[in-house]
């Protein structure tokens, strides 16, 4: 009744190729963006902006990156944490070596360096696939973290190994990192970046390159026969995915925690991001957001529930219970809907089209 395509004619190619072809979708997206850009900074407390929204947005970005690689191009990767660390440390080196460099340039360059590293560790994908590749990408995870931990050049010879991110400003004196940055500025900066990059990712998946990725994912030999180059396709997937992960890592270290340390990008981060895209939905951009929201919010929610129930006196016990419930929920979700939250959303939309007169 409310949500349907009847009567919405597309009169031009541009209208036919739009991302949101229905007026209702456009209104919905507009509402979400309005909520995120205007309402959230006005009503959100510091806790909400800094402890919930920032990690959610940054994880979403990393999840989009991994989704491009794993969901669209079909290359299973467990090196996300390593690539994020790479982004964080390149951004740190760039920001300290060239203090005048604009923050956006720092992020883009850090992403590009990570992309180059991603291509390097993506090379094995030309020979191996599936779980063999997943284990091979673990090499990236462990090697990169070791490198940043052990080689003092990366931490500018700091003795403690924990270094704070240098303050950077966008538009003159609006600080987005460092001590002077306000939560609202940090939040809006991250949100804008994530929105732009998500839009770019969405469009990429609709372009030739995205179609090539999907062809490689579905059957690489068949794709090769119809003229898709496996090498450029796979390596471009690694490069672009690493670019996204690198920026996510840089944002994590600079904007969210304010400290650049390798410990923040342990193997668990890789698994969390993988969870996000699987629970959100492989091969969907909106699924990356849903999965990130789920994985970021779930522990907070569980923690508060356990606190409310009075079960959290022992911190260790609470964290064990949390792990248990988390594991059980993941299995539950996989059994109920292996295609992820994005699929549930799609089913809901199908239902909405016929509501309230299903035939």
């Amino acid at each position: 009744m409310i949500y349907r395509e009847t009567g919405q004619f597309k009169a031009s190619y541009a209208a036919d190729q739009a991302i949101f072809r229905l007026v209702e979708d456009r209104i919905g997206m507009g509402a979400i963006l309005f909520l995120a850009f205007v309402v959230m900074p006005l009503v959100g407390s510091q806790y909400w902006l800094e402890t919930i929204m920032l990690p959610f947005l940054i994880y979403s970005l990393a999840a989009i990156g991994l989704n491009l690689l794993t969901g669209y191009a079909g290359q299973l990767s467990l090196g996300t944490g390593g690539f994020m660390a790479c982004g964080a440390f390149s951004a740190y080196k760039l920001a300290t070596a060239f203090p005048d460099l604009h923050v956006l340039l720092v992020l883009v360059l850090a992403g590009s360096i990570t992309a180059a590293v991603g291509i390097l560790f993506g090379l094995p994908s030309l020979r191996i696939k599936g779980f063999y590749l997943a284990v091979a990408t673990l090499a990236a995870q462990f090697f990169l973290l070791w490198l940043f931990n052990r080689v003092p050049w990366f931490t500018n010879y700091s003795s403690s190994g924990v270094i704070s991110a240098p303050p950077l400003a966008i538009f003159g004196d609006i600080w987005v990192t460092g001590f002077e940055a306000t939560p609202v500025a940090k939040y809006l900066f991250t949100l804008s970046l994530v929105s732009i990059l998500a839009l770019a990712a969405k469009n990429m998946t609709r372009l030739k390159i995205g179609r090539a990725w999907m062809a490689i994912r579905d059957m690489d030999i068949a794709a090769e026969i119809i003229g898709i180059r496996p090498m450029t396709t796979k390596l471009s997937a690694f490069a672009i995915s690493s670019f996204y992960c690198g920026i996510a890592g840089a944002l994590w270290a600079f904007v969210y925690t304010g400290a650049v340390e390798a410990l923040a990008f342990e193997i668990n981060v890789s698994f969390r991001v993988l969870f996000m895209i699987i629970i959100g939905g492989l091969g969907t951009i909106c699924g990356s957001f849903m999965g990130a929201a789920f994985i970021v919010l779930l522990p907070i929610f569980l923690n508060n529930t356990l606190l409310a129930l009075g079960l959290a006196e022992a911190v260790a016990l609470a964290s064990h219970l949390e792990a248990m419930i988390m594991g059980a929920l993941i299995i539950f979700f996989l059994i109920v809907e292996p295609h992820g939250l994005a699929r549930l959303w799609q089913i809901l939309k199908e239902k909405l089209r016929r509501w309230p007169f299903p035939y």
């Binding site: 094995p124 191996i128 599936g130 090697f143 068949a222 993941i330 996989l334 059994i335």
Partner: protein
């Protein structure tokens, strides 16, 4: 040039100068490789029989060890503790087959892989909720004094581990080769559908395989537990078993052993002779990079089945 010589030549020179020390490091590495192989064995069993990449093997190792230690601390005699842990692991296999695997039949491998990560979280949390997260000492009476052969010091404990591992592999090989159940397991490993069509019950086979993997996990847990103490870290050993797996090939039991030996020896030698030159802790990643380079040359691992693909 000087640094290159430092990294490329110096370690070999020091190996040549102290051959006995090198031999000791090598043997120590091989022995710890045996321990990796023990964990990798559980992976291979499950991957062979059900095509599931069981990330939860490490968690199963920890889970089994926690229950074993817990039973011992309750004052149970060793044989009863062993029996109790075996019962727990078999029950776990039943539960996993029933709750996780059966509803996920026919899903793509990555979904099953994720499900096993879910199991990992659950088992880690569950085991530690019951038994707590303190480090527990496990002493099953294996001597740890070094054995002196000629000029070599060999850790008696490691030797014992190697013997246990050898026994386990022999028993498993006999079981796979000569019992009807073993034959059914191999049939399922070769071709699920063909096996089902000749009347082999898939669910039962899966339960058996997961039980066997649980028992292997128990052995690995007891050995690792007596070496390092029973603690959460045991769960992370699974990560070390992964490069062992891809070196040896996912589907090969001998591959798991040889891969384990290669990784163990390689990383110990690298750590002792090359580690100090680049800041130490080479052990963290050496196995992975070794496996990665190896895969570039031989994608299916040492003994893995050749992957043949058709459109």
């Amino acid at each position: 040039m000087e640094t290159l010589e430092h990294i490329l030549l110096q370690p070999f020179r020091s190996i040549a100068e102290t051959p006995m020390f090198f031999l000791e490091v090598l043997i120590g590495g091989l022995m710890s490789g045996v321990m990796y192989a023990l964990v990798a064995l559980g992976f291979v069993l499950i991957f062979k029989a059900s095509g599931v990449f069981n990330f939860a093997q490490g968690a199963m190792v920890l889970f089994a060890a926690l229950f074993f230690v817990g039973f011992l601390e309750l004052g149970w005699p060793v044989w009863l503790a062993v029996a109790g842990s075996v019962v727990v692991m078999v029950a776990l296999a039943f539960a996993i087959e029933r709750v996780v695997l059966r509803p996920l039949v026919n899903q793509p491998p990555i979904i099953l892989f994720m499900a096993t990560i879910g199991i990992t979280f659950f088992l880690d949390g569950f085991g530690q909720t019951i038994w707590g997260s303190d480090v527990r000492r496990l002493d099953v009476g294996i001597p740890t004094t070094p054995l002196i052969v000629g000029d070599l010091y060999i850790n008696q404990f490691d030797l014992f581990a190697a013997v246990i591992c050898g026994l386990l592999v022999t028993v498993l090989a006999l079981f796979f080769q000569f019992t009807p159940t073993g034959r059914a397991l191999r049939a399922v490993a070769d071709d699920h559908q063909a096996a089902m069509s000749v009347g082999i019950p898939l669910n039962v086979i899966w339960t058996i395989v997961w039980s066997v993997a649980g028992l292997v996990g128990l052995v690995a847990g007891v050995m690792w537990g007596s070496k390092l103490g029973v603690q959460f870290n045991l769960s992370l050993i699974a990560l070390k078993a992964l490069p062992v797996l891809i070196l040896g090939g996912f589907t090969s039991v001998p591959g798991a052993i040889v891969g384990g030996l290669l990784v163990g020896a390689g990383e110990k030698v690298a750590e002792v002779f090359w580690g100090p030159l680049v800041g130490g802790a080479v052990e963290d990643w050496f196995a992975y990079v070794l496996a990665l380079l190896f895969l570039l040359v031989r994608p299916q691992g040492l003994f893995g089945e050749r992957i043949i693909e058709r459109v």
